[in-house]
């Protein structure tokens, strides 16, 4: 092999760097995140599995419907009216960003920038009832 002296150490360093993340924390048990469910509410606007997988898509759909199409009317799910809004809808029930949104996001190393603009509710102060 040409340039053996450069390639083999280079390969070792490269593989080492790539595997570093795995080897550093490898084998440790990490707790699954436990987002705090809201008290007194049995269900959300969509089924749990859908929300786990696609809540961000739902928020995108709502955002386009509300702003771009002007469909601001609250939606009714299971007899309860919900505002199509992150601040005034979702956070009306899930009142703590830290104990709900952040637990899963930090576990998954996801940093959505919703909260750069949208105002997280003050801790444990529910917003006004949706109509």
């Amino acid at each position: 092999m040409y340039n053996k002296g450069t390639i083999i150490p280079g390969l070792i360093i490269f593989v080492g760097l790539m595997l570093f993340a795995v080897l550093w924390d490898g084998g440790e048990k990490v707790e699954a995140p436990k987002p705090e469910k809201p008290v007194g509410y049995k269900e959300c606007v969509k089924p749990l599995q859908y929300m786990k997988e696609s809540h961000m898509e739902l928020l995108n759909v709502w955002r386009d419907e509300v702003i771009r199409e002007g469909k601001r009317e609250p939606i009714e799910v299971g007899g309860v009216m919900y505002e199509k809004s992150l601040q005034n809808g979702c956070m009306h029930c899930h009142t703590s960003k830290k104990k709900f949104c952040d637990t899963c996001h930090e576990y998954a190393s996801v940093y959505p920038y919703c909260w750069d603009c949208h105002v997280a509710p003050q801790e444990d102060v529910a917003l006004k009832e949706a109509r």
Binding site: I67, R68, G70, Q87, Y113, C117, H118, V119, P121, L127
Partner: protein, 283 residues
């Protein structure tokens, strides 16, 4: 390489590109059709109105919101203008950076020569007009140059004639700000949630409405979220019973704003540009 092998490779390559490209191109075209019909002003949004777009030579049909501002009443009621501005800026979390460079304002006051430039003469010595201040805001034009300029449709005209801002989509190119003849738009040159010397730029964040982040353009939205629920815009509400601002559907002959426009002469800002603003002034 001999030519038959070369020919084979050329045909294989083109077929591969076509085979992968055609279904996805078709997909894109189909999606674009669906998207095009649901975007750009809401064709399906209103059941009562028929497509608020199409503002060309004829007057647009469908709902078309507008406003008459009686500058005389503002002049006669001191403090009223400040009340309106405060009502708007506090609800919508409009920051105050404390310097003119980074300034953000959705509604503000200016003297006659700034509000209606071009209409000046040394010989117009009418003291009252020179002392009056005029409430300026986005005119929500029928023919908005900012909407034409925006490369992402982040600013668009909805079915009710309101020129809307989609903060999620804005890339902050500020082309709309260059295009607006009225200086109605502001840009977030820095993070509005910051503070200087311990004083936050937003005095008290309203939890019902988001702030914006640095790098997007913002402006008056004719309170479309309130108007949709049948309420008046915040500035109009702040004028109370004075009728200094009258807001309503310009296309509805029975609305209050149409009555005022029938009864009084009004002027508009820069009418010769053909933007067809929705804001009228009684002087």
């Amino acid at each position: 390489m001999d030519s038959s092998r070369r020919k084979f490779l050329k045909i294989a390559g083109i077929s591969a590109v076509a085979g992968i490209g055609a279904p996805s191109a078709l997909n894109m075209l189909m999606k674009n059709e669906v998207r095009a019909s649901s975007e750009g002003g809401g064709h399906g949004a209103q059941t009562d109105a028929h497509g608020g777009e199409g503002a060309h030579a004829a007057a647009p049909v469908g709902k078309r919101y507008g406003m008459v501002i009686d500058a005389v009443k503002f002049h006669d009621t001191p403090g009223l203008a400040e009340k309106c501005i405060e009502a708007c800026h506090s609800y919508f979390n409009v920051p105050n950076f404390g310097n003119k460079k980074d300034e953000i304002k959705w509604i503000w006051q200016m003297p006659f020569t700034n509000a209606f430039p071009g209409d000046e003469s040394h010989y117009k010595k009418d003291e009252r007009t020179h002392a009056m201040q005029f409430m300026l805001l986005c005119n929500h034009c029928d023919n908005p140059p900012c909407v034409r300029a925006c490369p992402t449709k982040a600013t668009f005209k909805n079915a009710d004639g309101i020129v809307m801002m989609d903060f999620h989509r804005c890339i902050g190119c500020r082309f709309c700000m260059a295009a607006c003849p009225y200086g109605a738009r502001s840009f977030n040159w820095r993070d509005p949630r910051g503070s200087k010397d311990g004083v936050p730029f937003i005095k008290k964040i309203n939890p019902e409405f988001p702030t914006r982040m640095r790098g997007v353009v913002e402006k008056c939205s004719f309170c479309d979220l309130r108007v949709k629920r049948g309420l008046q815009p915040l500035c109009v509400e702040a004028t109370g019973d004075t009728k200094a601002m009258v807001f309503g559907d310009l296309n509805d002959p029975n609305s209050e704003v149409s009555q005022v426009l029938k009864a009084r002469f009004t002027i508009q800002r820069k009418p010769s540009l053909g933007t067809m603003p929705s804001v009228f002034y009684i002087i």
